[in-house]
């Protein structure tokens, strides 16, 4: 495993980028994306608003706000942007995606342990044997709880 994710995250900043500058820029980008997507939708009139009216107007407000935030951050500075926790992101998100990939074709009996064991590696405190035993036990518990006690139609073994 990589070792860039030790403690003391406060100290790990990304260059000298002020947090609010990135924050503003992020919203500008999202707003621009929505305007691009809404470009072809008719705006309509007040009496009969078109599908594009609200997305476009809200996005414009957001871009203006984001730009203001970013500009203020350049002038005033403020907190610096900190580095993301790549290991946590990768294993937690990966665990969720693995669950989605396997639940329909293999059922909970595979998806459960697979996603839990994978996600366990998100922290360097992970103890592999413990994680495997715990994942198996939790899966059994979930099958009992969701399938038999609550009666959800969740696949347990493939195609069931």
């Amino acid at each position: 495993m990589t070792d860039h994710d030790t403690t003391a995250p406060q100290a790990r900043t990304v260059g000298r980028v002020p947090e609010d500058f990135a924050a503003g820029l992020f919203l500008v980008l999202i707003g621009a994306f929505f305007i691009w997507q809404a470009w072809k939708l008719p705006l309509g009139s007040l009496r009969a608003m078109g599908p594009g009216m609200l997305p476009t107007s809200i996005a414009v407000i957001m871009i203006a706000g984001g730009a203001l935030l970013a500009a203020a951050a350049i002038v005033k500075g403020g907190n610096l942007l900190t580095r993301p926790h790549v290991r946590g992101l990768f294993f937690v998100l990966g665990g969720i995606v693995l669950f989605g990939l396997t639940i329909r074709s293999f059922g909970l009996i595979v998806a459960g342990p697979l996603s839990m064991i994978f996600a366990s590696f998100a922290t360097d405190e992970v103890r592999p044997t413990e994680a495997v035993i715990f994942a198996a036990a939790m899966t059994a518990f979930c099958i009992f709880l969701f399938k038999f006690a609550l009666g959800l139609p969740i696949p347990v073994v493939a195609f069931m």
Partner: protein
């Protein structure tokens, strides 16, 4: 008094051995599914519908209603312990409830939530019995224009949810609104912003969004700061609220009950506004508003009472008008029709046993929930002692199963992962997710009502001001905005003078 003879009749029905038992079962199941993140009352009630075929209608509905408000109780447990709002109404509870848990006061937070909810539930029961009919008529004065103005007021309220910068909170509200525009256009049926993804044609779902942005993003943040969560594990603190905690909470509970109960009657799912409104008011009335967001007990007591009161008064539009205000109530309509009862103005006269029996059972159910939940507080709090390296995979699997089973769709699980990423980025950029979720919760309804109001007025914006109720609501909103902005203007002035 009619009211008392009616209630007596109701208690006569509800206190039979069978119905008390069904109520208990319903409350137990409800608490369970409420605590499990993602598995909501909607899925559960749907699954249990066929089981109720064999019961008499009153018993069946008593049980289903028990699941519904049991889930509300259970939902606050998850919000407080792991910062995941299972339902839109529990979003506010995460703000101070989870902070209290982090300070080792999880037991107190759970206890005050249970007691506040119990009180609210009792009052709401009487409320429904006494005022159900006249209030329904009042609620009918709410047309699209009034709803829109009410939502505007709600969004103005939301600025106080912010712990940090009000400006950034406002931007988050707009981001929430923007997310709402994804999906099929209401009027023309045209798809917008769906990127050709079929699952997005009905818009972004609340559950994947809330669970991703709140739950998983929080998990990643906790993994990043091991020290912070060790503190949570170290201290457990007292399990039940002390006398001074209760003294601090009495007024918030009273106000929350009143606000939540009133908003719950609105037949357009007004109940979601209750906790937000209550939180706003408590923060405004507090001597030291800066305590909010850092574990203020009033921030749990008020919204939790509002939440429960609203959950119950939401039965009013269903029972008196036959109009379901939210998804759970729509299921109750299904349950009633399956049992040959068409919900509507005539339930009260045609099936008085059912009507009053159900209302009486709500009180019994609330009492039961306190009895079920208070002893469990100790157990829930002990859960926090589970090492985090085991707790987060467990949360992950519960959330995944919950999300999957809403629509039996793996795509919803992917969306959750996507929103977890977005949520983490937002946290990194110093944004608070709560205002965004409020914007999202209100946005859909707001666009719908805005467009309906403008079509009805044939494009005349003055309709929002000319209609008296709507005009008053907007005026209150403007007033609130001024009050909210004044301190920050003052502060800036002070800062300028200091320089």
């Amino acid at each position: 008094m009619d009211l008392f003879s009616n209630l007596a009749q109701g208690f006569g029905v509800a206190f039979t051995l069978q119905n008390v038992f069904l109520c208990f079962i319903g409350c137990m199941i409800g608490t369970l599914v409420g605590v499990l993140p993602g598995v909501g009352p909607v899925a559960t009630i749907a699954m249990l519908l066929p089981i109720t075929f064999g019961l008499d209608p009153t018993g069946a509905l008593i049980m289903l209603a028990g699941i519904y408000y049991g889930a509300q109780y259970g939902g606050s447990t998850t919000a407080i312990l792991v910062n995941i709002p299972g339902e839109a109404t529990a979003v506010v509870t995460t703000l101070d409830g989870h902070q209290m848990a982090k300070q080792g006061r999880a037991g107190v937070a759970l206890g005050i939530a249970a007691l506040g909810s119990f009180f609210a539930g009792c009052v709401a029961t009487i409320f429904i019995a006494a005022l159900g009919q006249p209030l329904t008529r009042l609620a009918q004065l709410f047309g699209p224009a009034e709803y829109f103005s009410l939502m505007v007021m709600g969004l103005v309220f939301s600025t106080v949810l912010a712990r940090g910068s009000i400006f950034k909170a406002l931007l988050m509200v707009f981001l929430g609104l923007l997310l709402d525009t994804v999906g099929t256009d209401l009027e023309t049926g045209q798809e917008r912003m769906t990127l050709g993804i079929q699952q997005l044609s009905d818009g972004v779902d609340f559950a994947p969004l809330a669970m991703g942005i709140f739950g998983f993003a929080e998990i990643i943040r906790n993994l990043e700061n091991p020290e912070a969560r060790d503190v949570v594990r170290g201290k457990i603190g007292r399990l039940l609220p002390s006398l001074s905690d209760i003294r601090q909470s009495v007024k918030p509970v009273l106000r929350g009950t009143f606000i939540g109960g009133l908003l719950g009657i609105l037949p357009g799912n007004g109940a979601v506004l209750g906790p937000f409104a209550s939180y706003t008011i408590e923060k405004k009335l507090a001597k030291d508003p800066s305590r909010f967001g850092k574990g203020a007990i009033e921030g749990v007591a008020g919204p939790e009472s509002a939440n429960n009161a609203g959950a119950q008064t939401a039965f009013i539009p269903l029972l008196t008008l036959g109009i379901p205000p939210n998804a759970v109530m729509a299921l109750m309509v299904g349950a009633m029709t399956i049992h040959g009862i068409i919900p509507g103005p005539q339930v009260m006269t045609k099936n008085p046993d059912l009507f009053w029996g159900m209302i009486a059972s709500m009180w019994i159910g609330n009492a039961m929930l306190v009895i079920i939940n208070l002893p469990l507080v100790g157990m829930w709090v002990k859960l926090l002692k589970v090492p985090y390296r085991l707790m987060f995979p467990a949360i992950l699997i519960f959330c995944c199963i919950g999300i999957y089973s809403i629509n039996n769709s793996a795509e919803d699980v992917y969306f959750t992962a996507f929103f977890a990423l977005v949520g983490y980025v937002l946290i990194k950029l110093g944004y608070e997710p709560a205002p965004m979720l409020l914007g999202f919760v209100l946005g859909k309804l707001m666009e719908e009502k805005l467009r309906q109001a403008l079509i009805l007025s044939r494009g005349n914006f003055m309709t929002f001001v000319e209609r008296p109720i709507s005009g008053v609501l907007l005026a209150v909103a403007v007033l609130m905005l001024i009050v909210a902005l004044l301190p920050s203007i003052n502060k800036k002035r002070e800062a300028a003078f200091q320089e």
